[in-house]
């Protein structure tokens, strides 16, 4: 039994006439938060969308828990236990918070214990339960998007830049929340905010021009400013 929950082997993805992923190979171990870092346009979002089947890989193999999911329909991939939180959060603004949450359940019913756990993590979800989702603030929408991902047990959650546009205080709360969520599941997190990624990530991969250019532990990357500067054009000092 492999310790790897998700693997990509030489994955190539085209969007229209553009070749975006140039042979991504990546292995994500079970449990904890694993971070995919990279500059704008490096291919981070495309990688997540390709895993979810929202864009089809032209070449290569994607395996989830030993099953080949390359070419599978998005809904089938989701039913294998992968939740996806896109960069734009994917909230249904015309629906209430409750309806958004209900859609994320497999049979339309809530597990009460699970729901109470979500309320404990995000009190705003309970507070605005009957409100239309479009009326929530940016941070509350992000909480709703993540609540939807955890309302039922998932084997893996793919999250695309959850801190984008959020206030620092909300980001600090989010770190605690992700630590809590990662106790039960594996999170593959796409981030540009290195401080946020550093405080959560166990493993890290850096993507550049559609290829993985670095793979290792977050601890090693955080300790090596030279590597950070080379890979990400940043240093922790610059962010502190």
């Amino acid at each position: 039994m492999s310790d790897t929950i998700l693997s990509l082997e030489d994955v190539h993805t085209d969007i229209g006439q553009y070749h975006i992923l140039h042979g991504i190979s990546l292995q994500v171990p079970k449990g904890g938060v694993h971070v995919l870092l990279g500059r704008n346009g490096a291919g981070k979002t495309t990688t997540l969308r390709t895993i979810m089947g929202l864009w089809q890989a032209r070449k290569g193999v994607i395996r989830f828990a030993d099953a080949d999911i390359t070419g599978m329909h998005t809904s089938e991939i989701a039913r294998l236990g992968i939740a996806y939180v896109p960069e734009n959060m994917g909230i249904f603004g015309g629906l209430t918070v409750q309806e958004n949450m209900r859609l994320a359940t497999s049979n339309g019913r809530f597990d009460d214990q699970r729901l109470q756990h979500v309320f404990a993590l995000f009190p705003a979800i309970e507070q605005f339960w009957s409100k239309a989702a479009w009326s929530l603030s940016g941070g509350q929408k992000q909480m709703l998007a993540i609540s939807r991902a955890i309302i039922e047990p998932r084997r893996m959650i793919l999250i695309d830049e959850p801190t984008k546009g959020l206030a620092p205080a909300i980001i600090r709360n989010m770190i605690d929340m992700f630590r809590e969520v990662a106790r039960d599941t594996t999170i593959l997190l796409v981030e540009q905010n290195f401080l946020f990624a550093r405080s959560l990530g166990r493993g890290v991969a850096v993507i550049e021009d559609g290829k993985i250019v670095h793979h290792g532990t977050m601890q090693a990357l955080a300790a090596d400013q030279g590597l950070q500067t080379r890979l990400l054009s940043l240093s922790l000092d610059a962010h502190q």
Binding site: M52, T74, A78, G90, G93, G94, L95, E99, R102, L103
Partner: protein
């Protein structure tokens, strides 16, 4: 300005527009009895247009499909219903109210079943290959509309077809000097019933929840584990059946129909969908009532401006609310 808007929203917001239009018309028309007659005619016409438009709005919103062939279902619904009513003429025009109702239900059911089957065929054969390609959708659905009209010509001929109205719906209710056609009351009631059923289905069922979510973000619905393409077929079939029922009702309203009926109605149907906002049943109802009332009031006050008035209404609303009065998608 903001305070005024907030106050209007508290009292019903844009839902008040048909009431405001009716009150303005009362001032311009002067005679209360004429106003009541025109208002009832406008409301019943609006409900029939709602039947035709609601399906198109959902198809537009959920599937992002520009279906110019939608009016073919309206035409076929009208002709199928006319044929059934003619075939059951003995029941239809006789004195037996029960048989009148049976003939009427048979005609409406035949139109609905035709709409369901034709909708399935249309979606599977014509629409599916052109998803996500608006230009090809316009060309291929326009082509399908022309073929459908030619088929009607081939089956029913080019001469206007007379539609025998069920005896139970003939005549008028007279209250003082106000005369209200029974058929119009029935058309209004049927449209209202369709709205209630649609509203319940969309707001109180899981499939309805999926449709509303799909109108906003199809990709995310799939990422939550649902096959939205299977939902598409069901929505398309339901929309086509509603259009056919709308056509059947319109046939009884006009009592004389031609193969061009669908194309003529299509302009009003598109105006309603645009005014109401894509993918919104509430918006379609609001738009249809506005179009029905406006058409009838202006036809009385300035007959030659009837269609133009609805165009002007659409332009004014789009300038005020570019996404329509009650769009389904909230950003």
């Amino acid at each position: 300005m903001q305070k005024t808007t907030q106050m209007l929203e508290r009292f019903g917001g844009v839902n008040l527009l048909p009431v405001a239009l009716a009150l303005l018309a009362l001032l311009l028309i002067g005679s209360p009895s004429t106003w009541v007659t025109l208002t009832v005619a406008g409301l019943s016409m609006g409900m029939m247009i709602f039947l035709m438009a609601s399906g198109l709005s959902l198809v537009f919103g959920l599937m992002d499909v520009l279906n110019f062939g939608h009016s073919a279902f309206v035409s076929f619904g009208a002709f199928v219903a006319a044929s059934v009513l003619s075939a059951l003429a003995a029941w239809n025009v006789g004195d037996n109210g029960f048989l009148n109702i049976v003939a009427l239900l048979a005609a409406i059911s035949a139109a609905a079943v035709f709409g369901l089957v034709a909708g399935w065929f249309f979606e599977t054969v014509i629409i599916k290959p052109v998803y996500r390609d608006h230009l090809r959708q316009i060309l291929i659905t326009m082509g399908a509309l022309i073929v459908a009209e030619q088929l009607i010509l081939a089956i029913w001929g080019g001469s206007p077809v007379s539609v025998p109205r069920p005896a139970i719906l003939a005549g008028s209710i007279i209250i003082g000097d106000i005369s209200i056609e029974i058929y119009r009351v029935f058309a209004f009631g049927l449209g209202l019933l369709a709205y209630i059923v649609l509203y319940y289905a969309l707001n109180r069922t899981r499939i309805g929840l999926l449709v509303r979510a799909g109108v906003e973000n199809r990709e995310m619905v799939e990422a939550l584990g649902f096959r939205i393409d299977r939902l598409f077929v069901g929505v398309f079939m339901a929309g086509s059946a509603l259009a056919a029922i709308g056509g059947a009702m319109w046939a009884g309203y006009e009592t004389l129909i031609t193969p061009a009926l669908g194309s003529e109605m299509m302009i009003l149907v598109f105006i309603v969908v645009i005014i109401g906002g894509l993918g919104s049943i509430e918006g379609s109802l609001l738009g249809a009532l506005l179009v029905g009332l406006m058409g009838n009031y202006v036809a009385f006050l300035m007959p030659k401006m009837s269609l133009a008035s609805n165009m002007l209404l659409m332009m004014a609303i789009l300038l005020w609310r570019p996404y329509g009065l009650r769009p389904a998608v909230k950003l």
